[in-house]
């Protein structure tokens, strides 16, 4: 099938920052993203888990965004401005997509 090159950007970030991040992405022209739940994890700031938590203070989510290669830099700039002072991880992978008109 006809595939098109794209980049897949995954941002793992605190749940409390989710709206700010997606707002920033939208301002940077991003038209689509998907949010995955995260159960727990570990990093320099220690281990955490969602189990039993009531507060959103200690949960994280993963925002996945597929984007045309030439528009990735604007996206990363926008994301970085939000993630910078926060814990979180940003990764970019090459991928291929169907229906390129959507991205």
């Amino acid at each position: 099938m006809q595939m098109h090159n794209a980049k897949r950007i995954e941002i793992t970030i605190e749940a409390i920052m989710q709206k700010r991040l997606t707002q920033a992405l939208e301002n940077a022209g991003v038209t689509g993203y998907t949010i995955l739940p995260v159960l727990g994890g570990s990093g320099r700031s220690g281990a955490w888990s969602r189990e039993g938590q009531v507060s959103r203070a200690s949960g994280m989510v993963q925002v996945v965004c597929i984007r045309r290669p030439n528009e990735v830099d604007a996206l990363l700039q926008a994301a970085f401005a939000v993630v910078e002072t926060h814990i979180g991880v940003v990764s970019v992978t090459n991928c291929q997509v169907l229906r390129a008109e959507r991205f």
């Binding site: 700010r20 700031s45 888990s49 039993g52 009531v54 507060s55 200690s58």
Partner: protein
């Protein structure tokens, strides 16, 4: 009842023992956990029930000047306590300004579960309280955050409040639910209560047990992981600060002429530390502050202290002072 009997009774209540079970299970690294969704569901239930009952009681007794003054007192306390906490932390702990401010915010704000535990101790003791204390609780949630941000901005940096954040704090889920169900209770009064009594009154304490089991699990996990940040000075602060808070609450409560039950709840609110609303706000506003410090202190030290020893102590004092 003397204070020791009170404390002993309190310690042997299913509520406290459930919390203890949670802490123990967590420290023993049992895999007992309560799903996030269930914990959130229980907290929604508790907030709805406590707000509703408060509103019904206000509908029943009417609105008076003391209500307004109590709200004001709550707001003043919430603004002022972080300043005291901050000063105390400068003396007692080696925390940075930033971390100290973040911790201070928690102590100006309140823990609704501690409040609920206070009401249930009052019930067992056969004492009543002003229904609007629930509204006071809601009013005390947020001002402390402003104080903390002011403390930080006075120092280096000059941090200004992001415009969205303020709306986010005032409209956070717990405040909206508590205040909303308070108004629903006020609007529907005793008839409204009669309709849903067997949902929000009868099973309340039982749900509270399971909720405290969960809080124990989370607190125990926090202690296990955050234990290393708990130096003696901080630990002491976690016990001293609620005592100071309770005295401030006592002063205002007596000044306002509240009932013994009302005075106790004012003390409990002032003594308690937030572990839901404020941590979330701090992650947004002061992301560089270390969460394990304020969470462990609030949930792992001050919450159990208030739950077990604090509340019976405050009640004894409140009864002595008000002669109730």
């Amino acid at each position: 009842m003397d204070i020791f009997t009170l404390a002993a009774n309190n310690l042997l209540s299913p509520i406290i023992l459930s919390f203890a079970l949670g802490v123990a299970a967590s420290l023993a690294r049992s895999d007992l956990t309560i799903p996030e969704a269930v914990a959130k569901g229980m907290s929604i239930y508790l907030l709805f029930a406590i707000g509703f009952k408060g509103g019904v009681s206000v509908a029943d007794h009417g609105i008076d000047l003391t209500l307004g003054l109590s709200l004001l007192a709550g707001i003043v306390l919430s603004f002022a306590l972080p300043l005291i906490a901050f000063a105390l932390l400068q003396v007692m702990s080696g925390l940075s300004r930033l971390d100290a401010a973040a911790v201070a915010a928690h102590y100006g704000s309140i823990s609704i579960v501690t409040f609920v535990a206070g009401t249930s101790v009052l019930e067992s003791a056969g004492l009543t309280y002003e229904g609007y204390m629930v509204a006071v609780a809601a009013a005390m949630e947020a001002p402390a955050i402003l104080s903390a941000l002011w403390l930080v901005s006075r120092g280096a940096g000059g941090r200004k409040m992001e415009s969205d954040l303020w709306r986010e704090i005032l409209l956070n889920g717990s405040i909206v639910l508590l205040v909303g169900s308070f108004f629903i209770g006020m609007a529907t009064g005793k008839e409204g209560l009669a309709e849903i009594e067997s949902f929000i009154v009868a099973p309340f304490k039982g749900v509270l047990c399971l909720f405290l089991l969960d809080m124990g699990l989370v607190a125990g996990r926090g202690l296990r992981q955050g234990g290393r940040v708990m130096r003696p000075g901080l630990l002491a602060f976690g016990v001293v600060m609620p005592l100071i808070g309770s005295v401030a609450g006592l002063g205002f409560g007596v000044l306002l002429g509240l009932s013994t039950g009302g005075v106790l709840l004012m003390m409990v609110l002032s003594a308690s530390a937030s572990y839901i609303a404020v941590p979330a706000a701090m992650r947004v506003a002061l992301p560089e502050a270390e969460p394990s410090i304020y969470l462990t202190l609030s949930l792992g030290v001050t919450f159990p202290f208030n739950l077990t020893l604090g509340i019976p102590l405050y009640l004894a004092v409140a009864q002595m002072v008000t002669g109730g």
